[in-house]
Symmetry: C2
Subunit: 212 residues, 2 copies
DNA sequence: AATTGACTGACAGTCAGTCAGTCAGTCCAT
DNA sequence: ATGGACTGACTGACTGACTGTCAGTCAATT
């Protein structure tokens, strides 16, 4: 094969891109390293020059997602023209959009073959999004929008609730149709967890809808 | 190898037992089918006589856990000498004891090598424990102990919260020591989610403590 | 004696990971 | 500018280990 030398960073990204695509399409265990290198157009050795094992490239893929999330969430947390409720809502909006950007990443995650990817992802997400979410909650407590003594636990509860509900919805057949009801239910739970005034989140959601 | 014929059900259980032990000790990907059959003392072919693939036996292991949980939870839900709060607390006590019975199954689950097992487990648990938990909550609403319009969502939120907090605690170093504080925090969150009187769960917990 | 079905073990095919060596690009001395 | 030394990106054949198959064996049952 013709030997083509590239900037290591570009080559690395190239390999990660293809690996991600194949893992999502066929599953981690079902994708061979040889499938990846064939698609990239490099040798087996090159793969192991960049990644010390197959598991290692999976970690690299996850890390990239986490980094994207970190950047987006930090930007929201740093805003000073919106209040805590709007931040938390923007936060969920951002997480949702990320999925969409990757062509329904979340759809892939819920296929059985991708448990491995999904599990690693959910294992690593909380430690990165709990701290900023926690800050937003503390802000809301100071603004007297929320009433909670333990912002960290509240943050965990919100994330756990959101994960659980989104998993649950994916296992049910009748996914579409009742998104509004589900949003209302999630808002209700978040308000309860945070000790916010009932209906306050929905009120803000309507306002943002109008603003468009 | 000496040929020993056993009752198929016993043989099947035998293979599952060993496989479970090895998967938990060394991880799913790191355990070879040949390791399993060597330990059981049967041939490679016997393994594939009982299970159609390596993935298949993992599903069998998970199924066994789920069945244990189902039985235990049904028994609690059927009791008529305790109220909804006591049932929910018994429910969590049962889930906790199950872990202990399996020599801290939950400890193994949180090791990185076992993401595969863990993920399959958590993917399948909710669909089995949400319905009975849901019934308990509905009971509590009728008894006017709780105030919620959507018991199913509340059940999901409680399970999600519990999972998220237990994962979070395992990733933190200072695990021991503050179990009481964590229990208090979880009770507080459950009360908020269910719309129960603040401190009510803790009150029942104290009462049960005394009863011993 | 015939039938059933649990069981065997050799084997085909596949895959993760290794390694000795190759070659493109860079940099410096002539 | 030209060559030669050097670096590190890259190659691909190879190995050992693995999953899953299958033709056939043997114990138990009828």
């Amino acid at each position: 094969m013709a030997r083509i030398v590239k900037d290591p960073e570009i080559r690395r990204t190239e390999i990660i891109d293809i690996a991600e695509e194949l893992f999502l399409k066929s599953g981690y265990n079902e994708t061979a390293v040889s499938d990846i290198v064939k698609r990239v157009g490099v040798s087996q050795g090159t793969f192991y020059y960049y990644f010390k094992s197959k598991e290692d490239i999976l970690n690299a893929i996850i890390e990239r997602y986490i980094d994207d999330i970190k950047v987006g969430v930090k930007a929201i947390a740093a805003k000073d023209d919106i209040n805590a409720i709007e931040k938390i809502m923007a936060f969920f909006g951002f997480l949702n959009n990320m999925d969409q950007g990757k062509e329904k990443l979340i759809d892939y995650f819920h296929e059985d073959q991708n448990v491995h990817l999904h599990a690693k992802f959910e294992k690593n997400v909380p430690s990165n999004i709990i701290p900023p979410l926690c800050l937003m909650i503390e802000e809301g407590v100071q603004e007297e929008l929320f009433d909670t003594k333990n912002p960290e636990m509240a943050a965990l509860s919100i994330i756990g609730t959101t994960f659980a509900i989104s998993h649950w919805m994916y296992d049910k057949e009748d996914r579409a149709g009742s998104t509004k009801k589900i949003m209302a239910a999630i808002f209700d739970l978040i308000e309860r967890i945070l000790g916010a005034e009932p209906g306050k989140f929905m009120k803000y959601a309507m306002k943002m809808e109008e603003a468009k």
